[in-house]
Amino acid sequence: MTMPDEGLSPVVRVIAAMLFPFILIFSLYVILHGHLTPGGGFQGGAIGASAVVMLIVAYGARWVESKAGEESVSVLESLGGLMFVVTGLLGFLLAATFLSNFLVGEVLFGEIPTFGSNPGILNTGGTLPLLNIAVGLKVIGGLASVVLIMALGSRRDAA
C-alpha cells in the first residue's frame, strides 16, 4: 500500500479544508471583537495559528511551505510588531504619552458605550481594536512560523 509520506488520510484532509476557513474567520472574529467579547489579539492569533498548524499536520509541512514560506510568515510578524510600536508612538505624537488611547472620542472606534450592561458596539474601544489586530497578526505569524520551522527543521539538516 503506497502511503503518502506526509499528511493524513483523505478524510482528515477534506475536513481540514472545510474547517480552515471557518477557523480563520472565527479567529478574525475573536481578534476584532476583542474589546467586546472574550478574546483579543493573543487568543485570536493563537486560534489562527492553530488553523495553519492543522494544515501542517493534515497536508504536510512541505505543502504549507510551498504555499507560504516561513520567511513570508515572519514578515507578517514583523509587520504586527511594527504596527504595535507605531500605534504606541502615535500615542505621544498625537496625544499625551506612549501607548495612550488617542482614538477615544474620535471617528474611528471612538464611541463610548453606555455604562454597565450593553449589547456591544463594534465601533468602540479607541486604539484597542488596532492593537488587537497588530497583536493578532503578530501571534498568527509567530506561532505558525514556530511550528512550521520546527516541522521543517529536522529535514533541513539531513539534506
Binding site: P4, E6, L8, F26, P38, G39, I47, M54, G60, A61
Partner: protein, 88 residues
C-alpha cells in the same frame, strides 16, 4: 424558575465522568488509548463549558466552547500523525 442549579449539577456529573476518563489516561496501555480518553474528556469539557455558560446566562462564554470543539482535534491529529509514522 432558577436554572442555575440543574446546570451546575450536570457540570458536577460531567466532572465525575472526566475523573473516570482520567483513569484511562493513567492506565491506557498504548498511546492511542490515552488519546481516546483525551478525546472523550475534550468532548465533555465542551459540553461542560456550554452548560456552565448557560448556568450563568453569559452568552459570550460560549465562544470558548467553540474554540475547544475545533482546536482539541488538532492535538489528536498530531498524535495520530506521530503514531502513523512518516515525516511531518
Amino acid at each position: 424558575m432558577n436554572w442555575t442549579d440543574p446546570f451546575l449539577i450536570s457540570l458536577a456529573v460531567l466532572l465525575l465522568c472526566m475523573f473516570l476518563a482520567l483513569i484511562r489516561v493513567l492506565l491506557g496501555p498504548t498511546a492511542p488509548d490515552r488519546v481516546v480518553a483525551l478525546d472523550t474528556i475534550n468532548t465533555m469539557v465542551v459540553a461542560a463549558m456550554l452548560v456552565f455558560g448557560a448556568a450563568y446566562r453569559e452568552i459570550i462564554y460560549i465562544d470558548v466552547a467553540i474554540v475547544y470543539a475545533v482546536l482539541s482535534f488538532i492535538t489528536t491529529l498530531y498524535v495520530a500523525k506521530y503514531l502513523e509514522g512518516g515525516s511531518l
